[in-house]
Symmetry: C2
Subunit: 394 residues, 2 copies
């Protein structure tokens, strides 16, 4: 299928437009241009050896008198599954450990401090099947599962914070969750976050596997900044993004699994809007390629049963608090995106645009409470009606 898929929006623009016109199109689409990182190691060799798209960009902030720059390199890994979905569960997972482990090593060589993989990275995105076995066997303990143990060693070895989105089986209750495990750069499990908003859309039958997360909106204080994780479908919910911001996040990762046709025209909008609205960096990560399953399934769209999920279009990207964004990774290849950030930009943009000052939080706390009531009367004005809900300020 990848033969029919275009490489990326960026490659289309760069083939078609030249010089000033290319610059102008990029200015309108992406904003201020990020600078390519000049790495000391041979990036082309890394890319060729692993057969991945490697891109690295840096965006600066202004110099302040009383704070030093807080430079952090974050990494995003996007990848296809390695083995067939008919292979054994352990074989599939081990192959992904091996593949992604090598990309994490490459990220370490490129100076990455905090890395995040795509949603449920240790397995195919099998929820389209609505089958339980064998897919539920990919679920593992967030604290002591094989994936966490595997990554703890890498985190310690590379002095890297690793955000690991997995299918979790709760150690106590045995229930399944869609969870991101945060492993700090000393190899310790700092904590976990469970996906807050669960889709019931087309092939994304995830609500039949796990429930809305019960871990709130934690922000993890790491040695490389305050990070949070908005898992996949949570990117459609501005309130989810907002709470991570109110809890002080400086970087919010959005590990995802989403396919062409359904969401590709939304992909560049939502995580980017969140960075703008909340004065933090966002990093949106999508898996790559096609996944085919042994038994046919239907998609709730009236079409015949089939075995293919669709095209996971990669296109992972990072947005700065001022809304300027990196190009996207490939739509068709595994990839590693490295972004060098100065976290001081969060406060600088907050002071410039001031949305946290002007957002009128107490007003909306009241409004949302009213709107949550079963007897909520929406503020509607029609002919021969007066506005009986004129509000006073908070």
């Amino acid at each position: 299928m990848s033969g029919k898929e275009s490489e990326s929006l960026e490659s289309l623009l760069e083939r078609g437009l030249q010089d000033l016109e290319l610059d102008e199109a990029k200015r309108i689409i992406y904003g201020r241009s990020w600078t390519k990182i000049k790495h000391s190691c041979d990036v082309d060799k890394i890319a060729a050896d692993l057969s991945i798209d490697v891109q690295g960009y840096t965006v600066g902030a202004r110099i302040e008198q009383t704070r030093s720059p807080r430079i952090v390199r974050i990494g995003a890994i996007q990848n296809a599954i390695v083995r067939k979905t008919t292979d054994g569960v352990d074989d599939q997972r081990n192959a992904l450990h091996d593949r992604v482990g090598k990309i994490i090593k490459a990220a370490a060589d490129l100076g990455v401090n905090v890395i995040c993989m795509q949603e449920a990275w240790t397995m195919p995105f099998a929820f389209c099947t609505r089958e339980k076995l064998p897919w539920t066997e990919f679920a593992e303990s967030a604290e002591n599962g094989p994936t966490t143990r595997f990554l703890q060693k890498l985190a310690l070895k590379h002095n890297m914070v690793i955000v690991s989105p997995i299918l979790e089986r709760d150690d106590v209750t045995g229930t399944i969750w869609n969870t991101a495990v945060i492993i700090d750069n000393h190899g310790a499990v700092l904590g976990k976050h469970r996906k807050n908003h669960i889709p019931r859309v087309g092939d994304f039958n995830e609500s039949t596997y796990y429930y809305e997360g019960n871990t709130g909106h934690p922000v993890f204080q790491t040695e490389f900044g305050r990070i949070a994780v908005n898992i996949c479908y949570g990117r459609h919910h501005p309130l989810n993004w907002l709470m991570f911001g109110l809890n002080g996040a400086e970087i919010v990762f959005n590990p995802s699994a989403t396919v062409s046709g359904l969401s590709e025209h939304l992909w560049g909008v939502e995580a980017r809007n969140a960075a703008i609205a909340n004065h933090y960096f966002t990093c949106a990560i999508n898996r790559v390629g096609a996944e085919s399953f042994p038994n046919e399934f239907t998609s709730g769209d009236g079409k015949p049963a089939h075995k293919d999920f669709g095209w996971f279009y990669g296109s992972s990207y990072v947005t700065a608090p001022d809304g300027c964004r990196t190009p996207g990774l490939s739509r068709v290849k595994d990839g590693l995106l490295v972004a060098e950030l100065d976290l001081n930009m969060c406060q600088q943009v907050q002071d410039t645009w001031g949305f946290k000052m002007t957002q009128r939080l107490p007003l909306y706390a009241n409004k949302l409470k009213e709107a949550s009531q079963l007897n909520y009367k929406p503020q509607r004005i029609g002919r021969n009606q007066t506005n009986d809900r004129e509000t006073t300020d908070e």
Copy 2:
């Protein structure tokens, strides 16, 4: 200045890319393509006579068994000021009445049912000056001012709902507000909405002129659908958009005034994200051209005093609830954008994506209330800390 400004992103893409590559770039950027409206009258003549960019698009919804399609044509007018800012207040306003009145007539000829102009459309956007007189003399009564009276006649004549964003002087208190007046298709003032979020950014010193709006989040029930108005800087605030959605809006207009350099890379993101997140149509409208003022002013950016505001880049556009959007109007010319919508799409997309179902409103009502307290303790997890704020579900 317009000589140096590019015409539009769309013109760049169409000059540089061909056929399948152009289609693919548009698919990724804009989503499903809108169809050009085939008008029965001579659109080219209208555009030439008025020297404006006229564009018209339609987007369909699925046919339902129990509801008929609800087809509505909305219009967006973007324009430069007509007279110099040194001319008399009445002369400047009358010239704008005359110019925009002609474009409203053109919109009527093109079958528009609901039209909206840009923010503070009867005046230059003089708030950069921080001077009061003569600019405050543009303020007028929402209910009985010259602009409302002028538009009431046009609304009745053309059977058109008109959304008129003006500088309002309160009839009772004499205070000034940034207000949108909604005039129904019978020429009656249906109501008004005052801008909820006021900028304090660069040249947008609006907080020195008027206060945060006290009219809540009204949705106006018209014969052509339920409409609301999110004025300019409110587009940066997802909670503002959310409340219009919770009150049942099907179309939300975003009359704006914003300049190149500051916001152009955000322009395609925010109103579009709102349409996606809230399952309604949005229509973002920006003014056009440069505005020069008699006395110099500074912009809070360390640069020398100057008399020019910057380039208002037009680029008005409409987004459907499924996230697909129209091309933008010109960056350099006055324009009229006509969009034919089937309002049934709002509920269809809501049932498909389901964000109102999955948004967990009671949870966030509680969270926002907590976060509004002065003693709020954000949910942070660091080394040797446990997560003491594990939440239960709403």
